[in-house]
């Protein structure tokens, strides 16, 4: 009964999304037709001493809370690359656009950046909704989009490069960590949208394989902070661990309700996939002692991390701490540089061919990442950190090697093909 109603909801949501995307796609297509079939490819100007790139982040509206930092770190990476000679000896000239936390705006601005500003590639986005709004436009106009945030996977596009984690690089390592701690019961708490629902569907399948029992599952709308009623249910269920896929400010309310209910990291710890160095300070001491699963932490000891942290701290308007999504955004620009240099051209098809020709790598702050030329994701190390009193993370677990990206979870036998199809369709 419950799963049927959820499926119905997914069906309605996906058909609504399909309608929306169809609308955007058609509009983008019309414009291309009007401007000539190869307008996008020919309009990028590579004759001058500069190359135009587009940055598309929400600088206003609800998501500005997170996306402002991504925009800032992209500016920093562009400044760094320019200081060291640019890309193919061309200085980056960036066009910053505001997605305004509005998905149709993301689609419109993508079209504007590609057809009017004639940028060679676009960097940005945060929510899956923004990415799904951009996707049909870059595919129609044959543009390039670099997306820097961990997400629910089950997607790949010839026109999108994903530098954040897919599920097998964040969710699955988190579950492996829980299994290594001997966790027997798990409660799932999430915001009500595509990422937590897909992540939890995957968690439930893997938990069954690991012998972990799911004792409850709760969702609250993304824009609601009050978690008291749901936390009361969690306290009653007494799970060994809470898997937290809540996003944004709602996390603060969740942590406060958790603390108030007398739950503690000693007895009922939380593992989160959206609380990083940027978010933890807003929760004060009440979040201390809980866990998070990311690929990058500021506390990571790698050769390149100290320089990254130092540059960011010195950068104007910086938040002073580094975190996973901003590191992924930083990677995205450098990865593009490596791709273009390997291709010897800014042409999208040549860049994509270069990605397939030989492995493109980058010495990222999280370690040396390698691009998968087929699915356009990158290899990443899995890390679990424990939040300390300074709102930094003590690394308590690491994957034994870099995890190859597997957005469709094809290498996991517990993930059945019919569920893959169902979730992929539901995600639109």
């Amino acid at each position: 009964m419950f799963s049927t109603s959820k499926r119905m909801r997914a069906l309605v949501a996906s058909s609504a999304a399909a309608l929306l995307l169809a609308g955007c796609g058609a509009r983008a297509g019309d414009d291309t037709a009007a401007a000539g079939s190869s307008a996008a490819a020919s309009c990028v100007d590579t004759s001058g001493a500069t190359i135009k790139l587009g940055f598309l982040n929400s600088l206003t509206g609800g998501m500005a809370i997170s996306e402002k930092t991504v925009s800032n770190v992209l500016h920093m990476a562009a400044d760094e690359i320019n200081a060291s000679g640019g890309i193919l000896d061309k200085k980056i000239e960036y066009v910053q656009e505001d997605g305004a936390t509005d998905w149709p705006t993301f689609a419109e601005k993508t079209e504007k950046l590609l057809t009017q500003d004639c940028v060679a590639a676009i960097f940005g986005g945060w929510t899956s909704s923004s990415r799904k709004a951009v996707k049909p436009v870059v595919e129609k106009l044959n543009g390039l989009f670099f997306y820097p945030v961990q997400y629910e996977g089950l997607e790949s596009s010839p026109n999108i490069y994903y530098t954040g984690a897919t599920t097998n690089q964040q969710i699955i390592p988190a579950m492996d960590f829980l299994a290594s701690k001997g966790v027997k019961t798990l409660f799932l708490a999430g915001s009500d949208y595509v990422f937590p629902r897909t992540a939890n569907a995957i968690i439930k399948l893997y938990a069954a394989k690991l012998g972990i029992k799911i004792v409850g599952e709760e969702y609250v709308p993304l824009d609601k902070d009050d978690w008291t009623s749901q936390v009361a249910k969690i306290a009653a269920a007494k799970p060994d661990f809470i898997f937290n896929t809540i996003n944004g400010s709602s996390n603060v309310g969740f942590i406060k309700a958790y603390y108030d209910a007398g739950l503690t990291p000693a007895k009922t710890p939380i593992i989160s996939v959206s609380i990083a160095e940027e978010e933890a300070p807003a929760m004060g001491h009440e979040v201390t002692g809980n866990y998070a699963s990311w690929n990058y932490f500021q506390s990571l000891k790698t050769d390149t991390n100290p320089k990254f942290i130092e540059s960011w701290k010195a950068y104007p308007n910086s938040s002073g701490v580094t975190s996973d999504p901003m590191e992924a955004a930083y990677i995205s620009l450098y990865l593009y540089k490596s791709l273009v240099e390997a291709a010897g051209s800014f042409d999208v098809d040549k860049v994509n061919a270069a990605a397939k020709a030989k492995p493109i790598t980058f010495d990222a702050p999280e370690g040396k990442v390698t691009l998968d030329g087929e699915n356009h994701h990158i290899s990443k190390p899995g890390h679990i950190g424990r939040i300390n009193a300074d709102n930094q993370f003590d690394i308590v677990w690491a994957s034994d090697k870099f995890i190859e990206p597997d957005p469709y979870l094809e290498g996991y036998d517990w993930f059945p093909a019919d569920i893959r199809k169902q979730l992929t369709d539901a995600a639109g």
Binding site: T60, A64, I65, T228, Q230, K233, S249, K256, A257
Partner: protein, 290 residues
């Protein structure tokens, strides 16, 4: 038992957010969509007070009056510069105040860390009160007490002071009140100050329950308006009952179903109620013909 207690606390926070609206919307007919941002201003005031008085045991009690005054002053400035040109044009106040709200949000985003700031709760709110076997978080008890005090002070002020009488007279019949020698301009300004100040107090309570960031106001504004409308415009007791009912309904629905569905069900309930009784729970009886 748990949903009833949790719901009462949720209702109390809703009531705090709605109290100011019941003055500015209920009594003055101004649709102030920036009310949520006044609430945000109150929450940030609590944070700023905490920067000065680092001991949170003391800073929260200090923050309450500070937030009241700061948010009230913002309201006063809004009234003096914009709202006063728009009395009797509720639709225009709605549009203008949506814009003011967006400006305040963006300003907060520029000034404070974009992910929001922590407001530490006082240690005397740590722990729980055991009621019939349920550990009721003290933070919730505090919200209810705070709402009760605000309601008591506000209703006493409206009922027993000359200013309160002037406000009530203006609400009942603005022209007649003016004829009787009441400066309705002064009344308007003061009402707006108090209404906005109450949003500031609500903001302090909200900062103890959820996040303090530029977006926090948005989640309270629509439920608060619904509560004022369901309670009966201009009726304090209606607002109180409606806020409590919505809070408890939310908690029970959340207990039986999920958090998302609870929001939908609770507000369907309010809308159905308003369909059946558009004037709300209680109505103001006046002799005016309109």
């Amino acid at each position: 038992m748990a949903p009833l207690l949790n719901g009462s606390a949720q209702g109390a926070l809703l009531l705090l957010a709605a109290l100011g609206l019941s003055l500015t919307f209920g009594q003055m007919g101004v649709i102030n969509m920036a009310h949520g941002e006044f609430l945000m201003i109150g929450a940030f005031s609590a944070y700023l007070v905490q920067q000065v008085i680092s001991a949170s045991d003391l800073s929260i009690p200090v923050a309450l009056p500070v937030a009241f005054v700061v948010a009230g002053l913002f309201g006063l400035v809004l009234e003096v510069t914009i709202i006063r040109w728009m009395y009797r044009r509720p639709l225009d106040t709605l549009l203008v105040t949506v814009g003011v709200g967006l400006i305040l949000q963006q300003a907060a985003l520029q000034i404070f860390p974009s992910q929001g700031v922590p407001v530490e709760k006082p240690s005397w709110l740590d722990g729980q009160l055991t009621v019939l076997g349920y550990g009721w978080p003290l933070r919730q008890v505090f919200t209810i007490l705070l709402a009760s005090v605000c309601v008591a002070v506000l209703s006493a002020w409206l009922k027993y002071t000359s200013f309160g009488r002037r406000i009530r007279a203006t609400v009942h019949n603005r022209d007649l009140a003016e004829t009787a020698g009441i400066s309705t301009r002064t009344v308007d300004r003061l009402t707006f100050f108090v209404g906005s100040g109450l949003a500031g107090v609500a903001g302090v309570a909200a900062s103890l329950i959820g996040g303090t960031n530029s977006q926090m106001g948005a989640q309270y504004i629509i439920p608060a308006f619904l509560v004022v409308a369901a309670g009966g415009i201009g009726q304090l007791k209606g607002t109180i009952i409606a806020a409590w009912a919505v809070g408890v309904a939310l908690a029970f629905f959340a207990y039986w179903t999920t958090g998302s569905l609870a929001q939908v069900l609770a507000f369907i309930l309010v809308i159905v109620f308003l369909q059946l009784r558009p004037q709300g729970l209680f109505t103001v009886r006046t002799r005016s013909l309109v």
